[in-house]
């Protein structure tokens, strides 16, 4: 049985934003990308036209491993939309840089897990394609495809 990444009854798409379009298209080849400074190597999220460290304008979408560690998480229980089942949101530190963080859904984890088993756990990125947008979604590292 394949893992269902499409767990939101209503998914609000990102706005059209030239600065961020690469991010939402990045999953087309299965890779997660962030803007990275070509001069100092610093990744910036959310994307910015200049490097927030060295102010270089050479910011290029750059693929990362998509692997990371859960910094914190929550299980949303409230049905903001009627019928929505509980789901897990995680704040993940991406391996490439200690302050490179992404909030996204975390799927494939028991929602009743002890918090200590989720925080610090290893995850990787899958993508849910909907309406031309590739939503990065975290799953436990090595989770069956």
């Amino acid at each position: 049985m394949s893992l269902d990444l499409d767990i939101l009854t209503v998914r609000i798409p990102p706005q059209d934003n030239p600065e961020c379009e690469f991010f939402w298209q990045s999953g087309a080849d299965g890779k997660l990308r962030f803007k990275c400074c070509q001069d100092c190597g610093y990744f910036s999220h959310p994307p910015t036209p200049r490097c927030p460290k060295c102010l270089s304008a050479k910011m290029e979408p750059t693929a990362v491993s998509g692997k990371g560690t859960v910094l914190s998480f929550t299980v949303n229980v409230q049905q903001w939309v009627p019928g929505q089942a509980p789901y897990m949101i995680a704040l993940v530190t991406i391996d490439e840089q200690p302050d490179l963080r992404l909030t996204a859904l975390l799927v494939g984890v028991d929602l009743d897990s002890a918090p200590g088993d989720v925080i610090g756990s290893r995850v990787e990125t899958r993508f849910l394609a909907r309406d031309g947008i590739y939503y990065p979604t975290f799953v436990p590292e090595g989770f069956p495809a």
Partner: protein
């Protein structure tokens, strides 16, 4: 030599409209009730008001009841001639409007500034939806990298702060629950509070989850209502009919990334910098504070403010509030003596300032903290923060 410019101003008048669930009245209607009461309380006439400031400004319907009328709408409704006008959702949280008014007065731009904050969130939720994503076609601004991932509610964002605080420091739900319980106990002594029935720890632990580890009772209660203050120059203090509520120091700092999920230390908030800056502007110390009116949009925010303002060390907030004795009205640091937003209702920051003024004047009745002379009022959570250190009487 004058010390902090904020010490050139004080709160001369306070006013509040009716507040409660779904009052069915317009934002302007509520605002004028509060404004006229504040002007009268200050011993002034409306012609004396030469400045208006508000948070966040804008339109109550477009903002889903989170904002009341704009400053210019109130100017027009009262036919005021103004030397100063301000309305913004940016700045030092809700308190930005008050702090701007203190600076307008200190710089001589205005003598008496009417500052108001109006919410009609209860009515608007009834008319529209409780879904924060309702009507949101696309995610933009700070929601651009939150809403597409289902993180549509502030509960989700603060839940991750609470979760990490619990994981890293061993803070428990039993400890966090003391914020809600303390607020409810205090609301029992506040006739204007929305929720006044006693609450037990079992009630708290059994309340339904909203976003783990935050349950319903960790979340404040949307209401309709308006509050207003008159910020006047200290020259007026000798003529003012009520005990002056003096600005001793303000905190406006923004250190670190202003983001719901990218702030460096996710067990804390932008409040850290505000606390440091506010204490750097005064000789008073945390130990001098008689009462702390700390923003409680969510219980975890209050805990973060207790730490950020130096009442205990970072990470020790859970132990500090354990059992609730320290933060009770009889404790060493009474908090949210009016019941906070968790039980009085979400008057969105201004309720904390209003209660600080009532306590400093000695007008809090059954819930009065004896000899309250120094009160800190803090607003905002996550990347939003501002703080006021207020004293009873002018004390330059």
């Amino acid at each position: 030599m004058i010390s902090n410019p904020e010490r050139l101003s004080f709160i001369s008048g306070i006013g509040r409209s009716a507040s409660g669930r779904r009052l069915g009245r317009t934002a302007m209607d509520l605002t004028l009730d509060a404004a006229l009461q504040a002007i009268e309380d200050a011993g002034l006439k409306r012609e004396d008001i030469d400045g208006v400031a508000t948070y966040p400004g804008g339109d109550a319907i477009a903002s889903r009841g989170m904002g009341g009328p704009s400053s210019v709408q109130v100017q027009d409704a009262l036919r005021l001639n103004l030397n100063y006008l301000y309305g913004s959702g940016e700045g030092s949280a809700q308190l930005g409007s008050i702090i701007e008014a203190t600076m307008a007065v200190a710089s001589g731009l205005a003598k008496h500034v009417l500052v108001f904050r109006t919410v009609t969130e209860a009515t608007m939720q009834g008319m529209q939806s409780r879904n924060p994503g309702q009507g949101m076609q696309v995610a933009s601004g700070f929601m651009e990298f939150l809403a597409p991932f289902g993180a549509i509610s502030a509960t989700n964002w603060f839940a991750q702060v609470a979760q990490l605080h619990m994981h890293k420091y061993g803070t428990t739900r039993e400890q966090l629950g003391q914020i809600a319980l303390t607020c409810r106990t205090n609301a029992g002594a506040n006739p204007l509070a929305v929720y006044r029935d006693p609450l037990t720890l079992d009630d708290y632990l059994n309340a339904r989850m909203i976003s783990t580890p935050l349950c319903l009772l960790d979340c404040d209660v949307p209401v309709d209502g308006s509050m207003a203050f008159i910020i006047s120059h200290v020259d007026y203090a000798k003529d003012a009919p009520k005990i002056p509520v003096h600005f001793n120091a303000v905190g406006t700092a923004q250190y670190g990334r202003p983001s719901w999920d990218q702030y460096e230390d996710m067990t804390s908030m932008m409040a850290q910098g505000v606390g440091k800056q506010m204490w750097s502007r005064t000789d008073l110390k945390p130990a001098d504070v008689d009462v702390a009116e700390l923003y409680d949009g969510f219980s975890i925010i209050t805990l973060a403010w207790i730490e950020a303002l130096g009442f205990c060390a970072q990470g020790e907030g859970g132990a500090f509030i354990e059992g609730g004795q320290r933060i009770a009205r009889t404790g060493e640091l009474p908090i949210n003596t009016h019941g906070g937003q968790l039980s009085e209702g979400r008057l969105h920051g201004f309720g904390h300032v209003y209660e600080a003024a009532v306590q400093l004047r000695g007008d809090a009745g059954e819930r009065q903290i004896p000899n309250a002379e120094v009160i800190v009022a803090a607003n905002g959570g996550g990347p939003i923060a501002g703080a006021l250190l207020l004293t009873r009487g002018i004390s330059n």
